[in-house]
């Protein structure tokens, strides 16, 4: 589904992504792990079109999307959330999700009837919020939410885009430890139900092991290892980078 070939991104003289090559298959849930500063978020930014790469090639469903606009990528089915939550601060929680749905269904040009008139879409937005467990907060403004709820809202907005490939940048950071697995359960079951492929950046190795089919280990801008979670975590070089253990 997604093919990344020898992708390079330089910021000035610093090479953040250094010839990364990997693939994500249909229906697959992949996790991307790596130490701080490895370039994980940059990789998400490159795939989602938030920033352009220096060289390399990104293919999605057989189309070259290396330099296409974020708009085109979203219409093709690439959606993302944000690690540092990125919400519409002056719109209610419901509207945050609803605007994503309006965008998905191509209704953002409708300018005569009030948004509430679109009952089916409003209901669907409520359902999505319900699924993620924050529908009771639908009339609040995002700044009044807890950090964890903001994060969940951010993810549910990305989910509302009904993409084929979902990029989740640390969906559980800021979420209370006890709720992490609940949130992941929600995300993963939703992703599986919609038959999406998904790439998750995650620091919690338990989550990586429990929820994902495959792990990509990124360090200094390169893919160091690629394989099943259990096998990968046994490798010495991975242990050294992720846990600082030498054996």
């Amino acid at each position: 589904m997604l093919k990344v070939r020898e992708l390079i991104k330089d910021f000035g003289k610093v090479r953040i992504i250094n010839s990364a090559t990997f693939e994500v298959n249909t229906d697959e849930i992949v996790s991307l792990v790596g130490p701080n500063g490895a370039g994980k978020t940059t990789l998400v930014n490159l795939i989602s079109g938030h920033i352009p790469p220096t060289t390399g090639r990104i293919e999605f469903l057989g189309h070259d999307i290396t330099f296409t606009s974020p708009y085109r990528r979203i219409k093709m089915g690439v959606a993302r959330n944000f690690q540092i939550t990125n919400l519409f601060a002056d719109s209610s929680v419901l509207d945050n999700v609803r605007i994503c749905l309006f965008s998905t269904y191509g209704k953002i040009k409708r300018c005569f009837l009030p948004a509430n008139y679109y009952g089916a879409i409003t209901q669907e937005a409520v359902n999505i919020l319900d699924m993620f467990g924050i529908s009771d907060k639908k009339d609040l403004l995002p700044p009044s939410l807890s950090e964890g709820d903001k994060k969940i809202l951010d993810t549910s907005m990305a989910f509302a885009l009904k993409s084929k490939f979902l990029l989740l940048d640390e969906p559980t950071s800021g979420v209370a430890t006890g709720d992490k697995f609940k949130v992941m359960d929600t995300i993963i079951s939703a992703v599986k139900k919609e038959k999406m492929a998904c790439m998750i950046i995650e620091h919690d190795m338990d989550i990586v092991a429990d929820y994902t089919d495959r792990v990509l280990v990124l360090t200094e801008g390169q893919i160091l290892a690629d394989g099943r979670p259990k096998e990968i975590m046994e490798q010495d070089d991975v242990k050294k980078i992720l846990f600082g253990v030498t054996s």
Partner: protein, 332 residues
Amino acid sequence: MGLKDFLLKPKFFVYLGIFILLMFMPKVLPIYQLMLLESGITFAIMSLGFNLLLRYTGLLSFGHGALFAVGAYSVGMMGEYFPEMYRIEILIPVALFASFVVSTIFGFICVRHTRVFFSILALALSMVLFALLVKLYNITGGSDGIHIELPMMFGKSYEGVKRFEFLSGAYYFVLICVFAASTIIMLGIVNSPFGKTLQSIRDNEVRAEMIGIRIRRYRLYAFILSGLFTGLGGAMWSFVNGHVTPEIAEWVFSGEIVYMTLLGGFMVFEGPIIGAILFTYLKLYAVSFTQYWMFLIGATLITLVLLLPEGIAGGFVKLVTKIRRTPSTGVA
């Protein structure tokens, strides 16, 4: 569903009440006051458009005077060059078309930037139009402007009728109907999916782009819509004023538009309407009161910004929420 909800809200009855009240104004107000009210209403139509950009898209335009002038001048020039088509049913669409064309051009250039860069670009473009209106005096009448004759309205000619009779008669009712229609349409726009899209761009353009909104294009749409309302206001104003001069394209008038909106309170939908009507009276009374009227206007603005930053409507809304909250929670 949405419409029914709205019809049951108390707000709707307030609107209806105001509309009916306005209907009786020609019987109550002396003609001089009525003309002031009429020019206030035309400014209100314009400020509705202005606030679509400021409140809902987050773009502060310092060049809306130019778009207002386009509406007013298209009426004037139609009278000059196509007198046989000088009917209000034709003039309004022509004014709308002219403002559509000009605001598309202006918008195309301006929406490449936001914040102060947008404001300055809009200001610069409006001054270009101002210069053209002054310099092309063969076409536009230069700084003398153009006299606006009374138009034909629905097949009825008003030749020989005095302007004040025209303004306190049929035209007044046409004006408030146009005003009511603009208010309803704008209310629809700001609550529609399109309006929500604009607000999401205002709140967070990075995220807006990442949920599949082409932000520049939508800013342009907002600019054009805003220009249409402004042009409509300009066209309706030209009949009230009876004369159009290039001054309305100058930055001073653009500044007054911003002032009106701030006076009423741009965070509330109805704010700019209140501001526009109030400003008309404020300015006139300041002028008649002292020759240093600009000082008075400026002092008002300073007081407003310091004491009532949300404007009159914003302050009122705040007061109401405070009063409502106090008894239920018991906390002042």
